[in-house]
């Protein structure tokens, strides 16, 4: 197949695929991902920071950075692809995601703390 001369469709498509990444992009993304994966595992497994809250913040921060690296290097996100529609749908998804996550945690946290303490006996005699 590859030895055959290309028809117009293939050549036309080839010019489109220039946005599908380069060797340098993939290798950069991979090296950054390895570093950004190794650091949180090292922090948790080695108990380096000696403070679980600080470690948790660091782990989540590094995860966000690594997600951004993947989006740019592997998924080739940029402001121009598909006329900006991919970025717009991503931002929309992120808004819904933040509302769903923070809303669930907020509501359920208050539901838990405002729940009346009761013994199994109380629960059986509930109206």
């Amino acid at each position: 197949m590859s030895s055959q001369p290309h028809d117009a469709r293939l050549v036309g498509h080839d010019s489109d695929t220039s946005g599908h990444g380069s060797m340098g992009g993939y290798v950069t993304g991979f090296i950054l991902s390895v570093i950004l994966t190794a650091i949180p595992f090292w922090l948790v497994m080695g108990n380096v920071l000696n403070d679980s809250r600080l470690t948790a913040i660091a782990v989540m921060g590094l995860a966000v950075v690594q997600i951004v690296v993947h989006m740019i290097c592997f998924l080739h996100m940029n402001t121009k692809s598909e006329g900006g529609w991919t970025l717009l749908s991503l931002i929309f998804t992120l808004v819904i995601l933040v509302i769903a996550l923070s809303g669930s945690l907020w509501v359920m946290y208050h539901l838990n703390t405002n729940m009346m303490q009761m013994t199994p006996g109380d629960a059986m005699n509930m109206p």
Partner: protein
């Protein structure tokens, strides 16, 4: 064929307008697939939210600290990360019209994917053997749902990968196969993005707290 040549005057080249429309459809396929991925992202967001709410409801059962083995998770993570870059190499080979090289990288990607799913199933099996079944506590229900859904996605991705490899071997690198491979590329890298959330939020934070 003879009737067609009769319709055009000898020497003139027939003009087709279908080609351009096809190119347009290909462009919108990628956007449509991206929107599907975003809706898939919302499924995972809801499952993450469920896990965030129920993750500490142990029902006097085992917690993440008792159950999770981080070395296994680290190997799992590296399997998925390696499969991501090998898929990238396959796409680069596709751009250079090297079909054999591309198929080689796709096989490697599939093997890394299989290793990931295999390790995850082994982990699930050992959890269930220890009595940490999904029925044990709300924490374990949400854990198995979230991680299981991701594992299911990877398994479907592997089936898709094998299907496309057969397609490429049968029909070569035709535009339709390129489009499918690019869609799978997005799907595969997207699953790696979700896994970053899983290993950070579920495993590392689970061991921490």
């Amino acid at each position: 064929m003879t009737t067609k040549t009769d319709l055009t005057a000898p020497g003139t080249v027939p003009v087709f307008f279908v080609e351009e429309e096809h190119g347009h459809a290909e462009g919108s396929t990628m956007l449509g697939f991206w929107i599907y991925l975003m809706s898939d992202c919302l499924i995972f967001a809801v499952l993450f939210a469920t896990y965030a709410v129920l993750g500490h409801s142990y029902a006097a059962g085992p917690s993440g600290k008792d159950l999770f083995e981080l070395p296994t998770v680290a190997i799992n993570t590296s399997m998925l990360l390696l499969s991501s870059i090998t898929y990238g190499f396959a796409m680069l080979a596709m751009d250079k019209e090297r079909q054999g090289q591309m198929l080689f990288w796709l096989v490697i990607t599939g093997l890394f994917g299989l290793a990931f799913v295999g390790l995850e199933l082994t982990e699930f099996a050992s959890l269930i053997r220890e009595g940490a079944t999904p029925q044990r506590s709300a924490f374990l229900s949400s854990f198995f749902t979230l991680v299981g859904t991701h594992g299911l996605h990877v398994s479907v991705g592997i089936i898709w990968l094998v299907t496309l490899m057969v397609q490429v071997m049968k029909h070569g690198l035709i535009p339709e196969n390129r489009r499918r491979l690019l869609c799978l590329s997005m799907f595969w890298h997207f699953l790696d993005v979700i896994w970053i959330g899983v290993f950070s939020f579920v495993y590392l934070m689970g061991v921490l707290v």
